[in-house]
Symmetry: C2
Subunit: 143 residues, 2 copies
């Protein structure tokens, strides 16, 4: 579904969204442990995300990562697209070129409705929407 990298990126971003702020930046090495991802690896991912304006970062002493107001409005799909590349979620279950509703492959209907449903959710929900759920305790963010 998603690559490991995307999963890690999502976890890191969510962790930052909940725990960091401009006045309380978090260093890569302090994100690593709670989300259970090697430090150097999460650094590399955060650099990618930073370059794409999905997270904010400040170098030097008292530096670290956090999300500003704008960052929080990022739709979840953007994170996946940056890390995994576009339309990783777009292809048919069997990767058949011209599989569509008119000329479906045998497994098409097993996945089609859901896939669009999932995509809609990833497009319409922002990081901030997820944070609300976590703060309202309707969803959880363990390691």
């Amino acid at each position: 579904m998603f690559s490991n990298s995307s999963k890690y990126a999502l976890k890191a971003v969510l962790y930052l969204a909940v725990n960091a702020s401009e006045s309380n930046k978090i260093m890569a090495k302090n994100i690593s442990e709670p989300i259970n991802v090697p430090q150097a690896y999460i650094s590399k991912l955060l650099q990618d995300l930073s370059r794409h304006d999905i997270v904010s970062s400040v170098r030097g002493p008292n530096g670290g990562f956090y999300l500003n107001e704008q960052n929080l409005k990022t739709p979840l799909i953007t994170i996946v697209n940056v890390i995994d590349g576009e339309n990783r979620l777009n292809s048919c279950l069997l990767s058949i070129q011209n599989c569509n509703n008119d000329k479906p492959c045998p497994l098409h209907h097993f996945a089609a409705s859901y896939r669009t449903h999932l995509l809609e959710n990833l497009e319409n929900n922002t990081i901030n929407d997820m944070v609300k759920g976590i703060k309202a305790k309707t969803s959880f963010l363990p390691l």
Copy 2:
């Protein structure tokens, strides 16, 4: 979602199910072209499937691959499990250990219903069910 290997295996099995029979076996090299998969690669996959009694094979002259009555009754999930290993489809979108309906991760509800839905379909539908759809022209099997 599935690995390439699983996709290829599914395509090969469906191709055999539609086009081969005990009296009309098909050689690996003749499956390769219509489903657009390298010959040696599809051979390896078919050997795997043959060892697990998902396809039938006969060596020597006039040999080849086909599906017998029993093979046709195989649920689709079995093919995926043999090639990709068990429960590749079981984990949560973020691969969080104890993510479930009671303690869902933030993305849980985006995927949960679909995943169970897809799994049910793969478990309850056999190769033969797919062949029926293809013959009834409600689904299609291009390359």
